[in-house]
């Protein structure tokens, strides 16, 4: 086995930008405003901030503490880290989830990310300009995705080309390594993302009331749609669940990624302040930028009723169908459209490289493979895994993968990690790990929150999501035969990925026994 020197973050700001880049994704600009608008506006922000303090921030700190501890012991991924938390032969297999989740999410996330790059190009060249109805934009999107052959696209060629470009950019960044690849990307991409977001926020405020004939159609009506509190919605458990779910997704905690990023932090470097800075940077992007762009501008151009219908249609409806219609009505719309989709692409790429890193780190750390070999193996594996997502999009392959990795495995792994950290590793040792070299004083109340509140929050989320989706997804109620076959294909792929990495863990640990470090 080849022993290699583990990479480290070159600067603290680089680490924070990379962590924030991982957290800030498409969801900040598309999912958050839709969730806020659908769940009581300003009143949604009460359970949202509560979940931030009781679920998001503690989980971020736990991830960072577990990751830094793992890195000190030469483990960059969760199988080794879980074993440090729980000296048991099962624990390392539980940790496989921390590689499985990001890897399987990458297989569809990378494809969605490539749509944003394509739409940025289409905005700049004006390809979708002239289609002034939502139905036309739906056809444009479906034609692009290869779901139908129409006057806009005759096949999936464009989509595949942009996927290849996106995949190549991801590969290039990962191949460069942590400090020369991911950190450098974050240092360029994150400031650019905020510049683009602020340009768009300013542009949204300048829109005001675009048509004086409709004084109700204004940016302020849109902001009211997001922020006016409807307190009656607080009695609805779904609102609390939606808020906790949004915090969980937006911070990307408990996925296995932050642990890998934190494994490149030196033992005597702070994690408490880094965690707080990451969370607040993500919230700035989500609440201030994300909440001020899409929904308010949709309200200004379409009115409140139409925007409610758009929001009910989901995040992609808002991002890929409604927003292009707005850019067509705006002066210099081609430029602003390109900026909007480029903003989404930057948000996406800083997250997708993070999704790849755990698998790369696992092969490097546990098998001692070189960077070149590791990246090559991972890229070939991921490239093959992306193909069914692209070609079976209309058959529910992507949705099925998203359900099992995003809705089931994610909260389950976060729950396992929080229990192992607080209850088996022990809160005393855990607290010492978390506060070691801390540059801020973490209030002692978080000791209680991490031990009791966060695991309960996660347990409720996990049970509720399974309960909500079980009839439709698990039992496949009302789904036609061909789609069912594709969904079973997605399940088979996911099982294969999990079993493959479980076997690799077994081999790596057996090798370590034979060749002591």
């Amino acid at each position: 086995m080849v022993n290699h020197i583990r990479d480290h973050w070159a600067t603290k700001i680089g680490l924070i930008l990379a962590l924030a880049g991982n957290a800030i994704g498409l969801g900040n600009f598309l999912r958050f405003p839709v969730q806020a608008a659908q769940n009581g506006g300003g009143a949604f922000m009460i359970p949202y901030f509560l979940a931030l303090v009781l679920l998001g921030l503690p989980l971020m700190w736990v991830d960072l503490a577990v990751g830094r501890m793992g890195g000190v012991h030469g483990h960059g991924t969760t199988p080794g880290m879980m074993e440090l938390l729980w000296k048991n032969r099962v624990s390392k297999y539980l940790g496989v989830l921390g590689i499985f989740i990001p890897l399987s999410i990458f297989m569809y996330y990378c494809y969605i990310e490539s749509w944003t790059l394509a739409y940025s190009f289409f905005s700049l060249t004006g390809k979708y300009f002239g289609n002034t109805s939502q139905e036309a934009m739906r056809q444009f999107l479906h034609g692009y995705q290869g779901l139908e052959s129409n006057s806009f696209f005759s096949g999936i060629g464009y989509a595949y080309l942009f996927f290849l470009i996106t995949f190549a950019i991801n590969t290039y960044v990962i191949a460069k390594g942590v400090s020369a690849g991911i950190e450098k990307l974050a240092k360029v991409a994150m400031p650019l993302l905020f510049i683009f977001a602020i340009i768009l926020v300013v542009r949204v405020f300048m829109v005001g009331t675009p048509d004086p004939a409709y004084p109700d159609r204004s940016v302020w009506t849109g902001l009211g749609f997001i922020w006016n509190p409807d307190f009656s919605r607080l009695k609805d458990a779904k609102v609390w669940l939606a808020a906790a779910g949004q915090i969980f997704f937006t911070l990307s905690c408990g996925w296995g990624i932050i642990q890998t990023y934190a494994s490149y932090i030196k033992r005597d470097e702070d994690i408490a302040l880094s965690g707080l800075a990451t969370v607040s940077t993500n919230e700035f992007a989500e609440v201030i930028c994300g909440g001020t762009i899409a929904i308010p501008i949709a309200c200004a151009f379409f009115g409140l009723v139409a925007t409610q219908a758009i929001a009910a249609g989901g995040a992609f409806n808002l991002g890929f169908q409604a927003m292009p219609l707005i850019f067509q009505q705006m002066p210099a719309g081609q430029i602003f459209g390109a900026i909007w989709f480029l903003l989404l692409f930057i948000a996406g790429i800083t997250s997708s490289v993070a999704l790849m890193q755990p698998a790369v780190a696992f092969l490097k750390d546990e098998f001692g493979l070189s960077q070149k070999k590791t990246v090559l193996i991972c890229m070939v594996f991921l490239f093959i895994g992306c193909q069914p997502v692209i070609f079976l999009l209309g058959r529910g392959f992507l949705d099925e993968m998203d359900f099992w990795s995003g809705t089931v495995a994610l909260p389950l792994f976060a729950l396992i990690e929080s229990i192992l950290f607080a209850w088996i590793f022990g809160m005393k040792k855990g607290w010492n790990e978390l506060t070691h070299a801390a540059e801020i004083r973490i209030p002692i109340i978080f000791k209680f929150i991490i031990k009791y509140v966060t695991p309960i929050y996660l347990l409720i989320l996990f049970v509720a999501w399974i309960w909500q989706h079980a009839p439709r997804v698990i039992w496949m109620d009302g789904i036609e035969y061909e789609t069912k076959c594709c969904m079973w294909g997605a399940r088979a792929l996911l099982i294969f990925i999990f079993v493959l990495f479980a076997i690799l863990v077994k081999i790596a640990w057996a090798r370590k026994k034979r060749v002591p470090a």
């Binding site: 600067t11 603290k12 700001i13 924070i16 506006g41 300003g42 922000m45 901030f49 302020w220 009506t221 902001l223 009211g224 922020w227 006016n228 509190p229 302040l273 880094s274 707080l276 800075a277 969370v279 607040s280 940077t281 919230e283 700035f284 609440v287 201030i288 540059e439 801020i440």
Partner: protein
């Protein structure tokens, strides 16, 4: 936008801006 909407927006934005400014100030001060 209602009066309560403005209050919620200012509160939400305010908490985040203060938190972000505080943590970034600490990070950048340490860097120097």
């Amino acid at each position: 936008m209602t009066k309560n909407g403005y209050i919620f927006m200012i509160l939400g934005w305010g908490i985040i801006i203060v938190l972000a400014a505080f943590s970034m100030y600490k990070v950048l001060r340490k860097k120097r």
